[in-house]
Symmetry: C2
Subunit: 444 residues, 2 copies
Amino acid sequence: MRLSRYFLPVLKENPADAQIVSHRYMLRAGMIKQQQAGIYSWLPLGLRVLRNIERIVHEEQQRAGHIPVLMPTMQPADLWRESGRYDAYGPEMLRIRDRHDRDMLFGPTNEEMITDIFRAHVESYKQLPMTLYQIQWKFRDEVRPRFGVMRGREFLMKDGYNFDLSYEDAMHAYNRHMVSYLRTYERMGLQAIPMRADSGPIGGDDTHEFLVLASTGESEVFYDAAITDLKFGDREVDFQDRAALAKIVEEWTTPYARTDETHDVALFHKIPAERQKTSRGIEVGQIFYFGTKYSEPMGAKVNTPDGEVAVHMGSHGIGVSRLVGAIIEASHDDRGIIWPEGVTPFHCGIVNLKQGDTATDAACEALYAGLRKKGLDPLYDDTEERAGAKFATMDLIGLPWRITVGPRGLKEGKVELTRRATGDSEELSPDAAVARLAEIYAGF
Amino acid sequence: MRLSRYFLPVLKENPADAQIVSHRYMLRAGMIKQQQAGIYSWLPLGLRVLRNIERIVHEEQQRAGHIPVLMPTMQPADLWRESGRYDAYGPEMLRIRDRHDRDMLFGPTNEEMITDIFRAHVESYKQLPMTLYQIQWKFRDEVRPRFGVMRGREFLMKDGYNFDLSYEDAMHAYNRHMVSYLRTYERMGLQAIPMRADSGPIGGDDTHEFLVLASTGESEVFYDAAITDLKFGDREVDFQDRAALAKIVEEWTTPYARTDETHDVALFHKIPAERQKTSRGIEVGQIFYFGTKYSEPMGAKVNTPDGEVAVHMGSHGIGVSRLVGAIIEASHDDRGIIWPEGVTPFHCGIVNLKQGDTATDAACEALYAGLRKKGLDPLYDDTEERAGAKFATMDLIGLPWRITVGPRGLKEGKVELTRRATGDSEELSPDAAVARLAEIYAGF
């Protein structure tokens, strides 16, 4: 993309009402625009990151064998009356009446509707196990929305639901989600720690939240330092291998890690003192097992050789739009965002130091074409701005790599490749720069 | 995808309440489930088609130089008060009050919000021309929703908006949209004819609808038979070349083609009698030029050397979810859907005639792996159903190609490749079948 033809409305000043760094940088980098409290438009740069996160979530869900569906945002109130949650949910549910005076709501979550789909179409235990998921907009009418997309009212979430014949099968689904989430977050450059949690309005017995450590997190967290040494890495996982998954889950759930809601001081103090850590965390996902809480009242049953059985269910969420903010909270400096390679809106920036100079323009165009030929997506700053302003914009929007092209370097056949995270620079030929970036991104 | 692990709830019987063939087949093929009047869940097969249509729309929009954004579904009423449409819109607008008693609405279209984004961030004429678009869910509270996704209440639409400095620039944007739409629909296997139209509640002077000819269409259309001979084909288009675009637009707008709303009997009768055609059509898109209708009242102005200028705008829509139905209306037979290659949910089906037979299973697995290695996405029916039922399902869900694998053919090293549209079959080696399909899909 050429910046001169793009829509990247960066702000020079800090927006007054943005209290946390991710909100500030998302506004300043022209990623979002607030339309009303807690409701945002995604401008082109922000949308690219959102789509990258979505893509990773889709890929990892499907790797685990989960099947995508898409439910509407508008739900009939009657479905929620069946589960008893219509009255229980409280003022966070956005209630709507249509022109025929039918009660509807903007779905804050989808346990009822997915159970309705299941009961309408699945009859036999032979069709199990089954996990259906979607990435769809939700609405929760927060009384005081804040922190930008971190606590918005209209937000994008992945919500998945498993349907299983037994507790054991459902716990395998639980483990499958935990393991696939570990992979998912790592691909986004995040360390998200599974912590034993409370179930809240979803209900259920087993539940873990995934938290990213960040000083701006809304939850206080307590953990054994050993857990931050764990890495999922590039291990091959067979998501049908129950024992293998259980082993990985054990690895991540053995070290103490809890939020303030489930914190157990006595247990915590059994950890060697130097490993007892307290911090704050941002919740970026949660998994639940809740058995037959919805399948019983809603009649989601399958026929088995031993008669009808209400299916065991769980639900599993990833905060897709919230992750954009969480990643920034975890990865930034005082000049701006530092995108992990896995989610960056553009793979690199190209800064032309002397726009209008024939040789420099030609070198930039050649780089631009060369990178695209390798399947990379560069943002080429071909504007008339001075160098300082171009660098400031690139730093603010946080592309992990920048190629700087100017007449002086070109005389020696060199451009400069700079890593955003460290500021380290290296001079190399344009071809070598393209090859280097292709190599770096081959792993993403 | 292996059918045994998929969620494809096909129905044996015709649903009673589905009046038109696309609605019937979408329900029978397990593509959608109605959740309430005019509101549907997209089941896995339907979602695949929807996503393919979305992908084509994105690719063609970006080819034309348009930039994706994403606006929220919930809009503040105040924005619509600025344009005067809040009171004018009528009961099709879904009006909502949040917990703080603020008036909101579920966006039925986005002229106001995109104008708000523009006025907040664009100051100089140097940033023009600019076209922003999104693919997002909309809501229109139809008094009598019907025909499945063809006239639903919650529906997915691409809506794009151009911002230009002058009438001439805006007409270039208009032409750019018309040409890119011609390409877009052709890639989906559709012939969509641009017809001079009425502007309705969007307002404006110039507008064309795109209509697909189908007996179930809601509009009566009148056209010169010459227009159905036009093909966009694979011509290379430079979307910045005004003259080239104008010429293509002229080619498609010279033959008479109008809906009943704009029909001119006298003009129509000037066409040679044998070329005067009447039919019905399904609207799948519309483009508008409406000048400063929104930019003036909402203050979307840019600075120019000659002072402030209200931008010239247009809006341009494609009915993404409606297209799923329109394609089926245009392409089916009495056994089911016939997907065009460009949008098919799977590239081909593999039917195992003797599940459990070692050699047949192995041949199917090898085919499955071979097709995937070529980047193709087959649906492998690995269930225990009998052959007749497997064929009926494949015909119903409409994959354009089917490979049938059985012990008899395998003895001679052959499988059968069948084209859904014609029923033509040919025996060839598994490797040749893979190569043939790879060749066919190389063009899509």
